[in-house]
Symmetry: C2
């Protein structure tokens, strides 16, 4: 197993974690597309040491802090994580290998709750695409991450319809894929979804894949088999998930959804990884 | 029980806790003599959002942040805390009452380990002075807090010698008290201390009281009967000690001795107090 760490997420938890890892002398990079929930916060008064700072400014401080300590931040979107001996972190641009991965990419905002009670719904094309070979499937999403899931599904399924659920399509697509931009108003079926109903039409499907927004902690949990509870990732006292070498910290593990807590999570998580690497030298 | 909170300590844990309490709409004041361990830190690089800031600057930011949110900071030294229905927090200048007290006054640096194995050693004049009525006692310390302990002991004991253990005397004292400024080099006795030996002389004593430096979390623990483990204060998951209404956060409860962790402790501790007050309305 390699001894380097990839931190996914460049908000408070991710930067704090990477700063500590770097200070412990470890090889670390950060990958993250944006600053997540904090980007939209107008004013923060309750994070120690600051008064009346915007989320955006605080994030910029964090990026500068990491860079000054020599930590590289890749502003790429992670679309998939796989594990063999090491982890492969696949972004929209590259693939990176690491012995340790830290998920610090914030709360999931990409569930499609309306469909979740049905048995033929999946958050992972790689895991479940196979079960829908030659079937008629729907894929919900409008982004880079949806395009990634689509590229996986296209190898197995022939009849795919993309539903943007009212959002504009954010990526270029092959013209042979039907894209429905109407809002989905209901999901019909008993145990399995049979029909997706939009404002304008009904679409019969055999299965539904969900790839809303960016891949999130919740997405990676579904892909990797990480234990979750109420859509939060479950970690032990060392911030490790049930998958060895895969850690998580910040909002996506629950608790107080505050900068202060995310920052401390990052520091504690880094300390656990450092101890683990020391012990296994 | 009153619904107000006194936070003892104006470092990262104390300020963070008070800021959250204030934002929850609670009546809170901070009492603290100085910024503790952080005052002496030349550079901090690993607290999220800052780079190359001194401990002193970060503390100043914290004081300004609290004041701007309307939180009063009393720069007084707490010498005693007592509990009846409410808590009384006694400083070198005033007495304050509160239903809730948060200890956020950093790690204890005022133990006198050389003497601790003996049975006639005490960290609390109020608790144990009575047992040494008319006996010959030693009191170790050189500060305001020592003077407070002395004022308690003087009501009960007639023959008191103050040992500054090599430090200059920091407070004015009545001339009828013998003050020894030599360094203590050993403590002699079996189960009980019988002789305190300084560089120059031997002093026979019946009991020894310790009041080094400022009263710390460890001191208050001894005075109030707070559970400790390895000189750290033990708290439950809500940051409450074994004494109802008495909370603790930051370095004095152990864990990572870092600003990040202290700040999160403060936020979490405040949240617990707020929940407790809500539930008991």
């Amino acid at each position: 197993m390699k001894n380097n760490v990839i931190v996914i997420g460049k908000g408070p938890a991710g930067i704090s974690c990477a700063v500590y890892l770097k200070r412990y002398g470890l090889d670390v990079i950060i990958i993250g597309r944006d600053g997540g929930a904090l980007e939209k916060v107008a004013t923060i008064d309750n994070y120690y040491g600051f008064y009346n700072i915007s989320g955006k400014e605080l994030l910029e401080n964090g990026y500068a802090q990491a860079k000054r300590l020599g930590i590289e931040i890749k502003s790429e979107e992670v679309v998939e994580i796989t594990k063999e001996e090491n982890f492969s972190v696949i972004t929209d641009q590259n693939t990176y290998e690491a012995g340790y991965v830290v998920l610090a990419c914030g709360t999931s905002r990409n569930r499609f709750v309306m469909a979740e009670k049905f048995s033929n719904v999946s958050y992972c094309a790689t895991c479940d695409g196979f079960f829908y070979r030659k079937k008629k499937i729907g894929l919900i999403g409008n982004s880079t991450y949806m395009a990634h899931e689509l590229s996986v599904l296209e190898n197995m399924c022939k009849d795919i319809t993309v539903f943007t659920n009212g959002l504009p399509l954010d990526v270029k697509m092959n013209s042979n894929i039907l894209v429905v931009q109407d809002k989905i108003i209901s999901v019909l079926g008993e145990d399995r979804i049979q029909i997706l109903k939009t404002e304008k039409q009904e679409y019969p499907i055999d299965g539904l894949f969900i790839a809303l927004g960016q891949a999130s902690g919740y997405t990676f949990a579904k892909h990797l088999g990480i234990e979750t509870l109420d859509s939060k990732i479950v970690v032990d006292q060392n911030f490790q998930t049930n998958i060895k070498g895969l850690y998580a910290c910040g909002d996506l593990i629950g608790g107080l959804l505050q900068v202060a807590k995310a920052v401390a999570d990052g520091a504690n998580c880094a300390t656990s990884i450092q101890k683990h690497i020391q012990l296994n030298k």
